[in-house]
Amino acid sequence: MKSVAGKVIFAALSVLYPALVFCGLVFWDISPRRLSLLLIGLAFVLFFNTTQGRRNAAGGAGTVQGNGAVPAGGEGAVSTGASIAGRESAANSLKDYALVVLMLACGGVSFFADSLLFLEFYPVLVSLSLLAFFGISLWKKPSFAFRMACLGDRRLQASPERAFVERYCDRVTLAWCFFFVFNAVVASFTVFVGDEKIWSLYNGLISYILIGIFFAVEFMVRKMMQKKMHSYIPVCELQRDSRPADMVVCFDGDSVRTWADFTDDVSKVRRYLEERENAPWILHCEDSYYFMVGLLAMLQGGRKALVTANRQEAFIKEIQKPGYGFLTDEPFAGATLIQDVLQNTESDGRWNTFDKDSAPIVMYTSGTTGEPKMVPKMFCQFENELFELVKVFGDDWVNRKVYSTVNHHHIYGLLFTVLLPTATGLPYRRHRIDYPSELANIAGEAAVIASSPAYLKRLAADAEGPIAFKTTPIIYSSGGPLPEEVARKCEGITGYWTTEIYGSTETGGIAYRQSKNGPIWTPFEVCKMSIGENDCLNVKSSYILEPEGFTTGDLVEIYDDGRFLLKGRADSIVKIEEKRISLPEVENRLKQTGLVQDVRVVPMVGKRQYLAAAIVLNADGVARFKDQPKLEINNFFKAHLNQFLENTVTPKKWRYLEELPQDTQGKIKMRDIQALFGLPESKNFRILKMHKEPGALSLKLVFPADSDFYDGHFPAFKLLPAVAQVDMVALLAHALLETPRAVQKIQRTKFSYPVLPDAVTNLEMTFKADTNKVLFTYTNEAGRMLSTGTLVMQAGA
């Protein structure tokens, strides 16, 4: 307590020092010798304060404050009137002792010489010591202004804006240094002018006014800087009054929803939930706003939220355990329509923060077991990731609007298109952008666009030229790799090199890249990479709860600096237009029908990504589909799968075979099945079996009676023309053995027996790459040779 009194006395004397000296000289006619006692007294007070401050270092004895009004200003530079902690007292006390010595020296000289000169140096000393103090803090960071700012807002130290604020504070500290230099120079000048009036006018008034002006200017600059800063608040810490009531939360055309609407709507839904039994709720809302209202109501109301993009009836039935609610914005039997809740419930105005460590959310991805995989999360995982995202990308987002082309029920969409805007106070559009052509409509807006390769590929293919964005948009892509050429084209259209985010539902965001800098990924600072099981990437981060981290299915090469290169997926989970699907799951679902003996589902890439299914029917299946057109069979299996899977991941192409394509060891290779699907379905022939070895192919074929091949040839006695036989060999060799397509020469052909319509025919062929020759033999079911020959393929064609 004593030290506080000491500080107050010292501060008061310091501020009044010029006035006291002036009055003493002019009005009270006190000699410089006696006045010098004031300075010596001040030195003792400072000495006393410093030793006190050292003794109770944690007690917050502000030695700096003691230096008078100027450092009190330093304190206000950024902080909001925080008291100075004694933390830095050890470093400061040295400087204070130096000041004490100087003050004693000046006082002593004044006393013995009875001279005014050294008495008047005191303000110069103060300025210089402050200059030293501020300057050293710039050199040995953190700077003084930033320390003060941290005291004013304790969250700052660990906030994502830290770097931004620190830069600003360093500049403020530097500006103070310049001011002290200026002040010291002018103050010494007033000493040497020798007129006490000028000296006391400057040091007792003008100097203080200048300090006041400095504060005012810095305050205005700071307000301007704050506008450039995002106002990040963790979602769980948002208060009802965290945002202005009229802040736009989201928009849709010209209609907007404000923060007041949002808080009201959340409390309505929450009240509705709390009036019901405490049970988990399934949440699916296409409208981002409704989704966010529903989610926050569940989080604040302590209800576990099951967030699902899939609202197929059979799937909902699987996850909706007894007592579970289902909140949605589209009519669904037995579900609660959020629009009805908002209309029929009175808001009770309640709103509260919640504990992020005990707020569960469940997300879904497809698993390998055949069941959709549930990924339980805690809200703190999202919060920690938001923090990291704001730290890395937040500065770019300021004053922008958020648009989306992706689904917010998946982790990337959830984070980027609803949670981030909510945490940073940016307005978002309630509905997705679906078409590439829509992008031109937002050319006038400063936009952040959360997108995906599916959309950007279409944008690259469809756009007629660059879009004249007023402000270059910021585009993110996640869900799958974005081909470099697509990123390049999109840059041509939008002016921005898409920032790709790599991550998964289990891990959240792991790394990011822009393809203009190559294919290497830069991990987020909190993500620690290592090589885990099966050479796959293992990640540990603040938003993965398991201490051992999570091992992805991606093969990886990690460089010394922590960056890494992805080298493909190691398992059978594939992505179809950003939707993750497990191939065994689709296969198991098909087997569930009881009509399938064997099946392989393979991913295909064409104009779009899709799945294709090669099926071997069992006896029941054959009996059931006897004489049915292929389309009917396809539709049967599709309808079955649609009960469980989204339309996008149901196979688009189907082949019904007697046996799955394999090699002589019976090994079924995905590449062979894909090659089979690479051959478009034709009414002219059907493949029933396929055995493949490098350079050799054996096929079981049927040439149906309604095939075009028979047109114009002996209508009464249909047989497969020789030219068709040769062309079939060339076609199949090209598609399945990867030979050139064009035939240069036909050698040693012999057509002994006709190939008959609808008869099972075997075709054997071998390809010799060195001679570019395909040898072929057609035989019938009984093994009789029908025709044989050699095709010399057009080299390089």
Binding site: H431, R432, D434, Y435, P436, S437, E438, N441, A454, R458, A461, D462, E577, G606, K607, R608, P629, K630, L631, N634, N635, K638, A639, N642, E646, N647, T648, T650, K652, K653, W654, P680, E681
Partner: protein
Amino acid sequence: MSDLNQKIKEVIIKSLELEDITPEDIYDDAPLFGEGDRSLGLDSIDALELGIAIKENFGVSFSTVNEETKKHFASVNALAAYISANSPS
């Protein structure tokens, strides 16, 4: 009218690379999207592709997706009505 429907069906099959389906297999009044007995069973990716194909073939574009546009995509008939109403020629 039926000529336009036929053309639309051909565009659907060609642009979406549908296998095993001929124009005769597509009903004029059945839904194109979603599940159901008579539905063509297209998905959201197909919708984007089809929107582009229709623009290329008929010069009619869909600016935004809302309940309104979803209606136009409801069936071949609905598409034909939308195209003839909005066709530049």
